[in-house]
Symmetry: C2
Subunit: 164 residues, 2 copies
Amino acid sequence: METMIPNPTTAPVISSQDLLKHWQAHRGLTRRVIDAFPEKELFEFSIGGMRPFSKMVYELLAIAAPGVKEIATGTSEELKEDLSQATTKDKILALWDEATAAIDQYWALIPDEKFQEKIMAFGQYEGTVISSVLYYIDNEIHHRGQGYVYLRALGVEPPNFWER
Amino acid sequence: METMIPNPTTAPVISSQDLLKHWQAHRGLTRRVIDAFPEKELFEFSIGGMRPFSKMVYELLAIAAPGVKEIATGTSEELKEDLSQATTKDKILALWDEATAAIDQYWALIPDEKFQEKIMAFGQYEGTVISSVLYYIDNEIHHRGQGYVYLRALGVEPPNFWER
């Protein structure tokens, strides 16, 4: 007789829905960090030879919605950071909101069992679906943390990290 | 007849073991970021009125092992950031390694079904076990990202974010 006890190494610690909610809450905070930048400094201010925050945001936009679409549809996406139309804060925020909707839309198409599957993200990064998604989230937190330093250096109070 | 299809809202996207591995890989990177700081600057360098990186690390140390111990044992932990013995980089790295072992030890005592339980972390932060653990990891990535800016401002090449 088969037992019904789930394999302990695959028991759930977070559901797909909760992970999406977690990420979108982070993305809401990142949106407020973008919005906290003065227009000019978003595109020009830099420390230690690093990119201005707008360029970090281009990277996040290039990864998030295309990355989820790739997982959901199985089509290989290109990593495109050239966002020449994102020349103002308002345009960046509009792209951010489009990505928010696209992430929700494509995430709903990912079956739970897919998270353990192997993928080659953007045709070049080997991992599983879950390791790729965690990378996208962690990379956003990493660069947003850098944005906090830029804001502090500019004398701007950033939004609280714990408010999502 | 009962179906054997798991509830889709609680299906696993990551296991407890994989989440621990994910965090410890992040912690390995954070250790290398600490180590990349010149001794003096670890304790003194700051941008925009922020804390020196050593003080951010005190916070991470105060959270990580005590936070996991609290979850595993159910005893309420105090948030203690006073690490007056951590006065050199070597001492901080030694505390970091102790925490690494303690996290492994206490994590093994957390049953999978506990991750959805409600807790009051450090007697004051309401959440679930999983939301608390994700907070601890995200908070580390956030402050480490700030450490990257400090290193760049100091002319030190930080370790690659993607190497864990």
